[in-house]
């Protein structure tokens, strides 16, 4: 391992939160290093059309949007490293952030590590991943053109995925464990009105069926206690997200689920000099635009803190 490089600010994560923090910090001449990670671009890399980010009246694809964010951060001199942070030590200052090939010390750190899709936790689900089981309809939907498919979940992501899949699927079952959806009204209405979508209520997935590739899914109706097999060739899991904060556990305050808990109305974490933004600290809104907003807050909070410490 080479010697540590010192930075005033290291930003961990590269979704809209991380890149917005980088844009602000770079313009404030903090010369931030963005440890972008191998999942660079964050969850937006897995979305098709972003229709609700202001300034794009025709919509824009998630990956295109993240390329623009990255370019804008680079324009002002942010460094971007496509490696995962493997170790983040927030116990003393300067803080330490390590990746495989590099090691940084930092006066301030912004945590923007986002969240990842949650899985059901079935053995058959793991075994058939990339063989018909996926957490990303955008990624894999078109591969099953002309086949029946299913989505598990009842929130906005599930509705979005189901609607997207109707472009390719002969039919899309939406398997939901309750008898009502959590999704926003507009997404519910679109999904319920779509002829290709059929809802399977009060149902849980018991097993994904298939030897080499998915050939079906067995669901259990929790109300009637009936079981049925849906003859699908692809199963998309959309049951929510888990914040990517395992590296920080025990170092800053996290809630029961693992979300970073900032001081109310700020981006300050329980460790002085450490700031948080985006989905890693937001169990409520979880939008690209709110992530960008909190990314901006984190950069401003970090800059002011560094100035107070005489480090900016």
């Amino acid at each position: 391992m080479s010697e540590s490089e010192h930075r005033k600010l290291v930003i961990v994560g590269s979704g809209p939160a991380g890149y917005t923090a980088a844009i602000y910090a770079a313009r404030a001449e903090l010369e931030p290093m963005v440890v972008a990670g191998l999942q660079f671009g964050g969850q937006l890399m897995l979305t098709t059309e972003v229709e609700n980010y202001p300034g794009f009246p025709e919509g824009i694809t998630g990956p295109d949007m993240m390329e623009l964010f990255q370019k804008q951060a680079e324009r002002f001199g942010a460094g971007i490293l496509l490696e995962d942070a493997t170790e983040v030590d927030l116990s003393e200052r300067p803080f330490r952030v390590k990746t495989d090939s590099r090691s940084f010390t930092a006066d301030a750190v912004i945590l923007a590590t986002g969240a990842s899709a949650r899985w059901l936790g079935l053995e058959s689900e793991t075994r058939l991943q990339n063989r018909g089981v996926s957490a990303c309809a955008t990624c894999d939907g078109a591969l099953y053109r002309g086949k029946p498919m299913a989505v598990v979940g009842g929130g906005d992501t599930a509705m979005e995925e189901a609607l997207f899949l109707t472009r390719f699927a002969t039919k899309v079952w939406v398997i939901h464990r309750r008898d009502a959806l959590r999704a926003s009204k507009i997404m519910q209405e679109r999904a319920l009105a779509n002829d290709k979508i059929e809802f399977v209520w009060n149902a849980v997935v018991e097993e994904v069926i298939g030897e080499e590739f998915v050939t079906g899914v067995r669901v259990h109706d929790r109300v009637t206690d009936q079981r049925q097999e849906l003859p699908v060739e692809a199963l998309f899991i959309a049951i929510g997200h888990q914040p990517n904060t395992a590296l920080f556990r025990g170092q800053i305050e996290l809630d029961d689920v693992g979300y970073i808990v900032p001081a109310p109305g700020t981006s300050r974490t329980s460790a002085e000099g450490v700031f948080a933004c985006g989905d890693a600290m937001d169990p409520v809104y979880r939008q690209a635009v709110t992530a960008a907003g909190t990314g901006c807050m984190a950069a401003i909070d970090a800059e002011r803190w560094l100035a107070e410490q005489g480090l900016a």
């Binding site: 191998l38 890399m45 490696e83 990624c139 894999d140």
Partner: protein, 84 residues
């Protein structure tokens, strides 16, 4: 340097990540769009035993998808495979 083949589609996000990661390492590769050339999709599924994209081959080694490529990189083993 090993010959690299990436079976991909124009819209797939993990394909984009794979391409970006290989480019960041200064690697040249053959990109095969399995939507534009559906007959090569069968070749991919046969060689990879998987139906998802991307599927990445480095030399004679089937790496897998982007998660597999990223896991190799995270383990510090990708450079050796790329012979850089």
């Amino acid at each position: 340097m090993s010959r690299i083949q990436v079976f991909l589609t124009s819209w797939c996000p993990y394909c984009r990540r794979a391409v970006e990661l290989l480019r960041s390492k200064g690697q040249e590769f053959e990109a095969i769009d399995v939507e534009a050339e559906p007959e090569r999709r069968d070749e991919m599924t046969r060689r990879a035993g998987r139906s998802s994209v991307p599927q990445i081959f480095i030399g004679s080694t089937h790496v897998g998808g982007y998660d597999d490529l990223a896991a190799l990189e995270a383990a510090g083993e990708l450079d050796a495979l790329l012979e850089v």
